[in-house]
Amino acid sequence: MTTSLETLRAVADRMSNECPQALALGMVTVALEADVALLKLPYSLDIVGDPDTGVIAGGVVTTLLDHASGQAVMAALGEPRPIATLDLRIDYMRAAEPGLDVHARAHCYRITRSVAFVRATAYDRDPDDPVATAQAAFMINTAGLPPPVDPVVDEARP
């Protein structure tokens, strides 16, 4: 990996600062390594899914894991290129503890010319006691070309 950490940091900052949904949630990149992204989603009353307990919605964990996975792919690519999520599988282990920030660690463990594979974990206190885990696949588009209207369908067809 020849990309400097500064370049990766700039890519991550762009993905967060230019992403209205990330800004609305206050979701930030904590650290970025060669093929790993660490993100934080601050607890807020806006993202509560169960008003009786204060537990955050499963859907917002989906957004955190999708976002973290995308950043891990960017980190592995080492340059900003258009990517599109193909699929995202999430297993919900337990409810997140009300009042605690949720963190995500995503690892892009395999990358081919056109597809990137990612595993990710969301946790509040301990990475070994996850709230949810995810497995995702992304299509990678060609750098320099404008993103196609239908990136997934156009690229994925045999």
Partner: protein
């Protein structure tokens, strides 16, 4: 579907802060429920396309599954997701998005639910979800 179900659906969604954050609402026509996510700039994930955040679409699909289960008779408690698989077929354009869920099987503990989201045309879905949810049947249910 009864007026009671429509009312239960409305109050369920209105009570969930995250549903208000996204801006989702639901409509019932007979026994068919459609969840609507009106477009709003804060839903955007990628400003250069622009496209709705993939996580937001996943959340919409999951919420649609939960809402469909909530109007199902005989459930004592709010269902909880066990696992979901979200497939992305097309990018979510900056327009309103709709979703409908189909309960494939409702067991005593687990429900298997399929959900599809679309924008301009129902025949051109932008995302789908297949998931399992914990359900708790009420005593008399």
């Amino acid at each position: 579907m009864s007026a009671e179900a429509a009312e239960r659906l409305r109050t369920t969604l209105a009570r969930i802060p995250y549903a208000r954050f996204l801006g989702v609402r639901a409509e019932l026509a007979g026994d068919e429920m459609t969840v609507i996510l009106p477009f709003s700039p804060h839903l955007i994930g990628n400003t250069s396309l622009p496209a709705i955040h993939g996580g937001v679409l996943g959340a919409l699909l999951e919420m649609t599954a939960l809402a469909q289960l909530s109007i199902t008779q005989g459930l004592a408690r709010q269902p909880k997701p066990i696992d979901v698989t979200v497939g992305y077929l097309r990018s979510g354009r900056p327009v309103d998005t709709f979703a409908r869920a189909e309960i494939k099987r409702l067991g005593r503990r687990v429900a298997n639910v399929y959900v599809e989201a679309w924008q301009e045309a129902r025949s051109r879905p932008i995302a789908n979800l297949h998931g399992h949810f914990h359900v708790t049947p009420s005593e008399q249910g």
